[in-house]
């Protein structure tokens, strides 16, 4: 008897994709977690940013006078008691919540044992959160490099500029979510894309 005879039949790739897209939309538009996410993210990001002595960076909802419609305003100051030197506006819903929703949806759509699925979801959410924080750290580094007296142009500054410009871009999130899903869920055992892999 071959090993494949004892394994459950792999889920067809088309079914998986349809399932994952439908679940992404359901989770993504679910009002309660969607509304709660920015405040939760700000709270734990601010707790981590407190360890950064300089610049003093805070995430908060945009002030009404800013007129911004995004969910996050990031301010940076040289010290805690100083006036902000720079501000940046972006949506953590876009760079954190939607990728989390997509990864959870992909893990739910993948045939996995319940305990394995629960661990995979927890790990996946932690990884997406770390990736979101890393993108914000890049934005902080870029904003700090724009201050007077910062080092002049160079490849590092160009990379920071690209990182800042692409802060809310979808492709890095999509690539990261796919890598996380493949590493966490081992889809080669459970999904059949119908491909000749060799």
């Amino acid at each position: 008897m071959s090993a494949s005879a004892t394994r459950p039949r792999p889920k067809p790739g088309f079914w998986f994709a349809a399932h994952a897209i439908a679940l992404t939309l359901l989770i993504g538009f679910w009002p309660t977690p969607r509304a709660a996410y920015p405040a939760l993210f700000h709270a734990h990001a601010n707790a981590l940013l407190r360890y950064l002595e300089s610049p003093y960076v805070r995430l908060a909802p945009p002030s009404p006078e800013s007129g911004r419609t995004t969910d996050t305003e990031m301010t940076g100051a040289p010290r805690a008691d100083a006036a902000p030197e720079w501000r940046s506006w972006f949506s953590v819903g876009r760079i954190g919540y939607w990728p989390s929703a997509a990864l959870v949806a992909m893990l739910l759509a993948t045939p996995l044992a319940p305990l394995r699925r629960a661990i995979a979801v927890a790990l996946g959410l932690a990884l997406v959160d770390a990736f979101t924080l890393a993108r914000i750290a890049l934005e902080i580094a870029y904003a700090s490099s724009q201050r007077p007296g910062a080092p002049a142009d160079g490849p590092a500054r160009l990379l920071l500029e690209v990182g800042s410009e692409s802060l809310t871009a979808t492709i890095p999130s999509a690539a990261f979510v796919l890598v996380c899903w493949v590493v966490i869920a081992s889809p080669w055992r459970t999904i059949d894309l119908g491909a000749r892999w060799r």
């Binding site: 008897m1 071959s2 090993a3 494949s4 005879a5 790739g13 088309f14 994709a17 897209i21 939309l25 993504g28 419609t69 876009r94 160009l158 500029e161 690209v162 410009e165 692409s166 871009a169 979808t170 492709i171 890095p172 999509a174 690539a175 990261f176 796919l178 890598v179 493949v182 590493v183 081992s186 889809p187 080669w188 055992r189 894309l193 119908g194 491909a195 000749r196 892999w197 060799r198």
Partner: protein, 176 residues
């Protein structure tokens, strides 16, 4: 685990890493090179001209002015992000990373790019019409509904290509 068992895992990992690397590279090209180029500005102006021409078939007085589409109903600027570059880059990366014969990749990329550019015109024209006739829904359509629609269409196009590019496997009998 035998070599035979390792093969699908290695193929999945290879696909994922190549795809991620190509996707990130395309972002570097987009933000580091393309956005500031004259060619890209010409491309945005061409998008505006073609969209305005299509809209003018149905709505009187719509015309393009540089990268803006202007009409009595509404005006919209074709800015960075309104292009189809990133969807095309995503699909191209996914097709290039997938193990398939080169000619199949070539036709997949060619047809996929045409398809995604057509859908991008649907987005631009749709947003112009929503801005003109249903203004309160413009922001959400621009930032949420159309991006999700286009990403779903990109994933769908890739899945369709995978199915077509590997279709002969479905007729093969798998030995037990």
């Amino acid at each position: 685990m035998s070599d035979r068992d390792d093969a699908p895992r290695d193929s999945w990992l290879r696909f994922t890493l190549i795809f991620a690397a190509l996707a990130v590279l395309s972002e570097l090209v987009y933000y580091g090179v393309a956005l500031e180029s004259a060619l890209f500005r010409d491309y945005l102006a061409a998008l505006a001209r073609i969209s305005a021409w299509i809209l003018a078939l149905f709505i009187e007085g719509v015309h393009a002015d540089g990268t803006a589409i202007t009409g009595r109903l509404f005006s919209v600027e074709i800015a960075r992000g309104c292009d189809a570059y990133r969807m095309c880059a995503l699909l191209t990366s996914a097709i290039l990373a997938f193990p398939a014969p080169l000619p199949r990749k070539a036709w997949g990329i060619a047809l996929g790019l045409v398809w995604l550019n057509l859908l991008n015109f649907v987005r631009i024209i749709g947003l112009f019409l929503i801005g003109g006739y249903a203004q309160p829904h413009f922001q959400r359509s621009h930032e949420i509904y159309f991006p999700i629609f286009l990403i779903a269409m990109t994933v769908g196009a890739w899945m369709f290509w995978v199915r077509r590019a590997t279709h002969e496997r479905f007729s093969d009998a798998t030995p037990a």
